[in-house]
Symmetry: none
Subunit: 226 residues, 4 copies
């Protein structure tokens, strides 16, 4: 794999609606194929077939197999970003707890939709340097925002807001990937319970009160005493 910078730019600027639609169809098919077969066994021919297209045409929209993967990841990232923004859109000045809940909910929602695909995307695919750079940039961006939130919140109890933010972000991402975005059905857990525990985990880490359960179940002491 060469790392020439242009390698992952789509081959054409699809101004025409038809071309856009075809690109999308290819990406959707690739998502299905990767989810079912994994990256290595998700051949370009299979993807083209799933998109009801010839391989030749596929290569008119994407210069190589990797570029399809990259585009899929970008979409995933965009979707995640939008999911968070949507959840925070209504709130004027979000509290730390609200931000946490929004992020966790968004992450779970985004990954619950196609767990197998996200496992392929983030665990078993070769990630070209360009993509990694994008990934890191996004993470840094999120961490920076998060650090700001933490620093501005006096009820948060952390020594180093930047480090804490990074750990919170990483924790959420890792656990969601690990628990939600997995191919093995028997490792998935009840999402409501997982959401609650994950929020509890990061809240308590930050010195914030744990979220209340919506289903009436609680902790030993809080349930009994509080």
């Amino acid at each position: 794999m060469t790392s020439a910078a242009h390698r992952f730019r789509p081959r054409k600027d699809p101004v025409q609606a038809r071309a856009v639609e075809t690109r999308d169809r290819i990406l959707d098919s690739a998502a299905r194929v990767f989810a079912r077969h994994g990256y290595a066994a998700g051949t370009t021919n299979r993807i083209a077939e799933a998109a009801d297209l010839s391989v030749g045409s596929l290569y008119q929209y994407f210069p190589n197999k990797d570029s399809i993967l990259v585009e899929l990841v970008r979409r995933h990232l965009d979707t995640g970003r939008r999911a968070v923004e949507e959840r925070l859109a209504g709130v004027a000045a979000a509290t730390t707890a609200e931000v946490l809940a929004a992020v966790v909910d968004a992450m779970i929602a985004v990954h619950a939709e196609d767990p197998a695909l996200h496992q392929v995307l983030f665990e078993e695919s070769p990630r070209p340097p360009e993509l990694l750079a994008e990934l890191h940039a996004l993470e840094d961006e999120v961490v920076a925002v998060g650090a700001g939130v933490l620093a501005a919140d006096p009820t948060v109890d952390v020594a180093d807001p930047e480090l804490a933010a990074r750990l919170v972000v990483t924790t959420i991402e890792s656990l969601v990937h690990r628990v939600v975005a997995t191919r093995d059905a028997d490792r998935r857990v009840d999402l409501a319970a997982f959401r609650h525990e994950l929020l509890t985990l990061v809240s308590r880490y930050l010195g914030l009160p744990a979220p209340e359960r919506t289903d009436g179940r609680g902790r030993r002491d809080t349930a009994d005493v509080g």
Copy 2:
């Protein structure tokens, strides 16, 4: 890939010291090659070459490429288990905090040694069903032990010890993999700081006091007030 049970058993029971040494050399080389090239590009010829051996010889010790991976994972698991046991060996009746510290330290130590390899092992390799079963069995075992520890400790504040144990185990494993066992050097962080934050994370989740820092740096409030 067939799932015949014998598919991953080493081809010969190496009783002679020379054979044992060769097997180890192959595994070490495979570790290096996989770490550098990933699983798919880590060809058996490359592995053999790295082991200063012919492919033919390699296949006298392992029936196929997968079996090398499986053996590598088994070794990793054993190493991890031993690492935990060692750290707990001296302590008569370990507290929850001591157990957590032992597990976290062991996990970090084990993964810090060859981060790239562990990423390959756990993120980008095809895991045959047999191996997954082993992995899950080990995790369940650890979770069961952990749940016992939590249930026996009255200072621990959790609603469901089993669920909490599972989340703690998963958190430690995920974050260590994510932060320590990664190919990208620039995503690795200061291990001492990471250790402290990870312990803080799980301790606070369980309602336990956060561990003290050994380097004099502390949290805002504890440093100032406590």
Copy 3:
């Protein structure tokens, strides 16, 4: 070798003339390569090269090496069947002698064309169960027809028409293979003489008069007396 039923089916149904032509070219090349090198040494790369094609293309038409062999045998069988039918087509009610002559002539004609190939096909190739079943079915079919002919002919002198038919069929097939379909040029004999002797052999076995020679040479007694 698995015995999955689809293993030997050609990969695509070649409707387009070009594809049909390519398939045929592959089969012809395979025939040549097998005939020259034998089955084991007749590699797919060699076949592809002989067909002026890449291996990859070859594998677009046949799923594996065995399937090429199987198809070659099927063609041979079809050719043989047609060769017999052609020779019997003109005759309204064929006598036993006419049937025998038709079968012998057809068999000799079919095998004389590419003796080396037929030796490979029937003597030194691994024959998958599916193929054997086809072979036996065809033989049984032929034997059944033959038994009918024998039973209906009062001049035929056999105790068990079925057994006799089977022996006649086997004899013709074996001797033709042995004498005609052989790689060793120096073991081949004059075909006209062979034809005459083979017909004499089976005719006399059935209690029928031996065929007359067309070249004036005859047996001791018939030449002198008859």
Copy 4:
């Protein structure tokens, strides 16, 4: 495969009894292995293992795999020759019928013992030129003897004793191979019946009376009328 004449001569002249015994053990094992696995899959390692020997030792007795096959064929030929001689030993002046019976019985006996092996030996193995030459020489020798027998017998009715002898020899050999020396159990027939029909076939071909059945079953007309 080179065709240097010495390629198939055993590597040592085994004057010592131990060495002779080892050679025999190797050949016996090779026979078993070839019979079970075929020639291609009958690896030298498997043969050595079956002989309870190391590969290295095997190669002290045979210069290569082919030479094992060749020796196996030679033994088979010797066995066949001896089998015929034994059956003719008691008879002072054998009639043609007696010779035929002796040959047929010997051939059937020799091949009935290990059908699968003989199929491998004569149908699916690469036969080096040297071996073919030996085979042909033996056949010629047998044909010559047979032609002498036929020529000397006034009751035999053939135009060309040499040609007739060759066809008789070939017929017996082919049919015995085809019917007796085959791996497919379901193609084997009742040997007594086969013997009778084969003798009938060649006897009638030669103008001799068919042999009498020992089991009381006979032909339609001869049984009823004659």
